[in-house]
C-alpha cells in the first residue's frame, strides 16, 4: 500500500505513528485510577500536549542537526518568538489560535533567516556558539530591557483591558480553534480506568502528524539527500557543484519554523509566554532530546522528547507520602532504607535520575533510544527466524 507519495514502508510507518498518536490518551493511562501505580499514568491533557509539542520541536531540530550535523545551541529563541507572537495575537485580535500560529511561523522563519544567515558563515563549534550567543542575547533582553514587549519575568499574558478586536460577544475566553476550545475534554470511564480525550491534545497531535509527514517527505527528498551529504562530506559536495550554504540555511529556517510552531502551540494550549522559554537550558533540552532519542532518525527525537518530559513531570511529583504507601508492606528497616534510597532519585532529586539515564543511554545505546528499539526488534526477529529456519535478510533502506 502506498500513499501520499510515500513508499510502502514509509506508509506503514506513518500509519503506525498516526495510530499511536490518536490512541495516546489510552496508551499512557495503563494503570487504573486510585491504584498505587496511578502516579505513573501520563495520560492527562497537559503532559500529552507537551509530548506532541516537544515532539514537533525535536522533529524540527532533527532536520537541522540530524541531517546536516550543524548543532544549534540557540533553537529556544524561535520557541520563545513563536509563543510571544501567539500571545500578542490574543491580545490584539482574540483567542482564535490560527492568526497567532501563522504569525509565529512567519516571524520565526524571518528570525531564523537572520540568525542562520550570520551563524552559518561558520561551522562546527563556532556555529554552535554563534547560535547560543544570539539566543542568550534574546533571552536576556526579553527578560529585562524588552519588558514592554515581553512582560519580562512575569511572562506575556492577556489582560482584560487588551483590545482583542475580533472578540465577539459569545467568543470563548480561552484559546480555541474556530470555536473548538482547547482545554475542553471528554472523559471515558472503563472499569477502573479513566481516559481523557482533550481537544488541545488532538489539535497538537494533528499538527504533529502533519509536520511529521512533512519531515518524512524532507528525509526522502533530494533536498534531504543533500542535507545528509553536507553532514558526511561538505568538501565533496562543494566539488560536486553544489552550494552547501543555501541548503544549510534552508534547513536552518525550516527547523526554526518548526520551533516557532512548537512555541506557538505551547501558547495555544496555555496563553502565556515566558522569557525562560528562550534560555540556553531550553535550547540544550532539545539537543538532549534529539541525541537521546537518536539524531538523524525519524522517530528518535520524538522518543527523546517524550522521555525527558515524562521524567520532568512524573518523577518530580513523587513525594514521601507516596513512597510510604508503596513500601508500607515491607518491614520497617527495609522500608526506611528504600525510602532513603529513593530520595536520591525522585521528588526533589528527579534531575539525578535524568542525568543517570542520559549517561546510561549514551554509554549502552550509542544510537540513542531508537537503537534500543532496533536491538529489541532484532533480537525478536532473530529468535523467530531461528525457530522458522528462515533467513533474516535486512533490507537496505531506500
Amino acid at each position: 500500500m502506498k500513499m501520499l507519495g510515500l513508499s510502502q514502508r514509509d506508509t506503514t510507518f506513518l500509519l503506525i505513528v498516526v495510530f499511536l498518536t490518536l490512541v495516546t490518551p489510552i496508551l499512557l493511562q495503563p494503570f487504573p485510577e486510585g491504584s498505587g501505580m496511578a502516579t505513573f499514568n501520563a495520560g492527562y491533557p497537559d503532559l500529552m500536549q507537551r509530548f506532541a509539542i516537544f515532539g514537533i520541536f525535536a522533529i524540527g531540530f532533527n532536520i537541522l542537526f540530524g541531517l546536516t550535523g550543524y548543532l544549534s545551541f540557540g533553537h529556544a529563541a524561535f520557541l520563545g518568538v513563536g509563543s510571544y507572537s501567539v500571545v500578542w495575537m490574543y491580545k490584539l485580535l482574540g483567542y482564535n489560535v490560527v492568526p497567532g500560529i501563522l504569525l509565529a511561523v512567519i516571524v520565526s522563519a524571518l528570525f531564523a533567516l537572520l540568525i542562520g544567515y550570520v551563524s552559518l558563515r561558520r561551522s562546527g563549534i563556532y556555529f554552535s556558539i554563534l547560535t547560543l550567543a544570539f539566543a542568550q542575547m534574546s533571552y536576556n533582553l526579553a527578560y529585562s530591557v524588552l519588558t514592554p514587549l515581553t512582560n519580562g519575568e512575569t511572562g506575556l499574558q492577556v489582560y482584560t483591558n487588551d483590545p482583542q478586536v475580533l472578540m465577539g460577544e459569545n467568543s470563548p475566553t480561552s484559546p480555541h480553534f474556530f470555536g473548538i476550545v482547547m482545554n475542553e475534554s471528554a472523559k471515558l470511564n472503563v472499569g477502573g480506568w479513566e481516559f481523557t480525550f482533550n481537544n488541545g491534545y488532538y489539535f497538537c497531535a494533528i499538527v504533529a502528524i502533519l509536520v511529521f509527514y512533512l519531515s518524512l517527505r524532507i528525509f526522502r527528498s533530494p533536498f534531504g539527500l543533500m542535507l545528509r551529504a553536507i553532514k558526511t562530506n561538505q568538501t565533496r559536495l562543494n566539488y560536486t557543484g553544489l552550494n552547501s550554504r543555501p541548503y544549510t540555511l534552508a534547513a536552518f529556517v525550516i527547523s526554526g519554523m518548526y520551533a516557532g510552531l512548537a512555541g506557538a502551540l505551547m501558547a495555544s494550549m496555555d496563553p502565556l509566554a515566558g522569557a525562560e522559554r528562550m534560555q540556553w537550558t531550553a535550547s540544550g533540552e532539545v539537543v538532549l532530546m534529539t541525541i537521546l532519542g537518536g539524531a538523524g532518525t525519524l522517530m528518535g527525537p520524538i522518543l527523546g522528547a517524550g522521555f525527558i518530559k515524562y521524567f520532568e513531570n512524573i518523577f518530580s511529583k513523587i513525594n514521601d507520602n507516596m513512597l510510604h504507601q508503596w513500601f508500607a508492606w515491607m518491614p520497617d528497616g527495609i522500608e526506611d532504607f528504600l525510602i532513603g534510597l529513593s530520595h536520591f532519585f525522585v521528588g526533589k532529586s528527579w534531575h539525578l535520575t535524568l542525568g543517570l539515564l542520559f549517561m546510561l543511554v549514551v554509554i549502552f545505546l550509542p544510537g540513542g533510544l531508537v537503537e534500543g528499539g532496533q536491538r529489541i526488534a532484532k533480537a525478536v526477529r532473530n529468535r523467530r527466524s531461528k525457530g522458522d529456519g528462515a533467513e533474516a535478510q535486512t533490507q537496505p533502506a531506500e
Binding site: 542537526f65 550535523g69 548543532l71 550570520v118 558563515r121 561558520r122 561551522s123 562546527g124 563549534i125 563556532y126 556558539i129 554563534l130 547560543l132 550567543a133 544570539f134 542568550q136 542575547m137 536576556n140 533582553l141 529585562s144 530591557v145 540556553w280 540544550g284 539537543v287 538532549l288 541525541i291 537521546l292 539524531a295 530520595h343 536520591f344 532529586s349 534531575h351 539525578l352 535524568l354 542525568g355 543517570l356 539515564l357 542520559f358 549517561m359 543511554v361 549514551v362 554509554i363 550509542p366
Partner: protein, 343 residues
C-alpha cells in the same frame, strides 16, 4: 580615571575566573578532543572541597550552656569545634579561619583523583564517539555531580569566607598616586588575580619546559603522529585531564570567598566558559586566557553607568555580542587553529 582603573581591576578579576576555567576546558578540548560539559561541575566540586574542609574544621561536639536558651526554650547546646579542643583555641581558630587557602592543598589531590576517575572510567570511552554523544554523557555527569552535592550540602549558597587577614580591602589607589580612599580594592580579589596569574604561568611553563608538556603539545597538534612515534599518549592524556580538573578545582576553591558556593554554580559558569574558549579559538591555550581577560574587562566596562545609560541592557549581552563580532571577523576566534572542531 579612577572609575576606569577600578573597572579594569574588576575585569581582570572576572577574567581570572573565566581564564582559569577556560584554560582547563581548552586543555581537554585540545588534547583529548572532548567537549566536556562537566567542566563547570569540576569548578563547583573545587569550591565544595573548600566548603567541606571548613565543615571538617568546624566539626563540633555539643556543650550545654545553661545561661542561654534555644528557639524552643530548652537550654542551649553550644558547639565546640574539635580542632579547638585538640589544638587549643588559637590554632583551632586559625585553622578555621584559613580553611579556604588550606583547601588548595587538599583540592589538588582530590581534583586529580576526580579527573583520573572521570577520564579512565568514562571520558576515555568517548574519544572516538561523535561530539554529540560526548555532550550528552558529560552533561548527564554534570547533572549527577551537582545533584549529589545538592543532596549533601543543600541548595542554599554557603558562605565560605577568606581568612580575616585578607577579608578587608586595601587602598590600591595610593600605590598609583591617587588620593586615599578613591580606589579601594578587596585584598582577596588581588590575591585571586595573583593566584590566577601564577596558575596560568605554571601551566604554560609546564607545557613549555617539560618533556611531558612537549609531548602533550605535540599531541594537541597531531595526535596520530605522536601515537606513531610509540609514545604512550593515553597515559599522558589521563594526567592531562587530571591537570585540567585540578586547575578548575583550584579556581573553584579560591573563588569561594568572592561567590558563596552553591550546587548550580557549575552550570552558571558552563555556558560562559564555552563562549570564552571558542572566542579564544579552539585548541589555543593563550587564546583561552586572552579571551577570558578580554571578556572580563569588556563586561566590567559595559557595566559602567555611563555606558549602560547609552545602551540599556548592554551589560547583559556584551559577552555574547563580543563573541559574535569576534567570530564573524576572525573565523577561528582569537587564536584558533584550523580544523579543530570545525565539523
Amino acid at each position: 580615571m579612577d572609575a576606569i582603573i577600578l573597572q579594569i581591576l574588576n575585569g581582570l578579576d572576572k577574567g581570572s575566573a573565566y581564564a582559569l576555567i577556560a584554560l582547563g576546558l581548552t586543555l581537554i578540548f585540545g588534547t583529548l578532543g572532548v567537549v566536556n560539559f562537566a567542566h563547570g561541575a569540576l569548578f563547583m566540586i573545587g569550591a565544595f572541597v573548600a566548603v567541606t574542609l571548613q565543615r571538617i574544621f568546624n566539626l563540633s561536639f555539643e556543650q550545654i550552656d545553661p545561661t542561654k536558651k534555644d528557639f524552643l526554650g530548652n537550654p542551649l547546646k553550644v558547639e565546640v569545634p574539635y580542632v579547638e579542643a585538640w589544638f587549643g583555641a588559637d590554632v583551632g581558630d586559625w585553622l578555621i579561619d584559613w580553611s579556604v587557602p588550606l583547601a588548595i592543598i587538599f583540592a589538588i589531590p582530590v581534583m586529580l583523583l576526580v579527573g583520573f576517575v572521570m577520564e579512565r572510567g568514562l571520558i576515555k570511552h568517548f574519544y572516538k564517539r561523535p561530539h554529540a554523544d560526548q555532550i550528552l554523557v558529560t552533561f548527564g555527569l554534570a547533572i549527577v555531580l551537582q545533584e549529589l552535592i545538592k543532596y549533601f550540602f543543600g541548595a542554599n549558597p554557603i558562605q565560605t569566607g577568606a581568612p580575616d587577614a585578607f577579608s578587608g580591602s586595601m587602598d590600591f589607589g595610593v600605590l598609583l598616586g591617587f588620593d586615599p580612599n578613591v580606589i579601594i580594592y578587596p585584598y582577596w580579589r588581588l590575591v585571586y588575580f595573583l593566584f590566577a596569574a601564577i596558575v596560568i604561568g605554571a601551566v604554560f611553563s609546564f607545557l613549555q619546559f617539560t618533556t611531558f608538556g612537549m609531548v602533550v603539545r605535540a599531541g594537541m597538534a597531531d595526535r596520530e603522529t605522536v601515537g606513531l612515534l610509540g609514545i604512550n599518549i593515553d597515559k599522558r592524556f589521563t594526567l592531562m585531564f587530571g591537570l585540567a580538573a585540578a586547575v578548575a578545582g583550584m579556581a573553584g576553591v579560591m573563588y569561594t570567598p568572592i561567590l558563596a558556593p552553591n550546587y548550580h554554580m557549575g552550570m552558571d559558569f558552563l555556558v560562559l566558559s564555552f563562549v570564552v574558549v571558542v572566542v579564544g579559538g579552539m585548541g589555543s591555550l593563550p587564546g583561552a586566557v586572552a579571551a577570558g581577560f578580554l571578556l572580563g574587562v569588556l563586561q566590567s566596562f559595559a557595566s559602567m553607568n555611563e555606558i549602560k545609560s547609552l545602551i540599556p541592557g548592554i551589560d547583559q549581552v556584551i559577552i555574547y555580542l563580543v563573541a559574535i563580532i569576534i567570530l564573524l571577523t576572525r573565523p577561528r576566534g582569537l587564536m584558533g587553529r584550523a580544523g579543530v572542531m570545525e565539523e
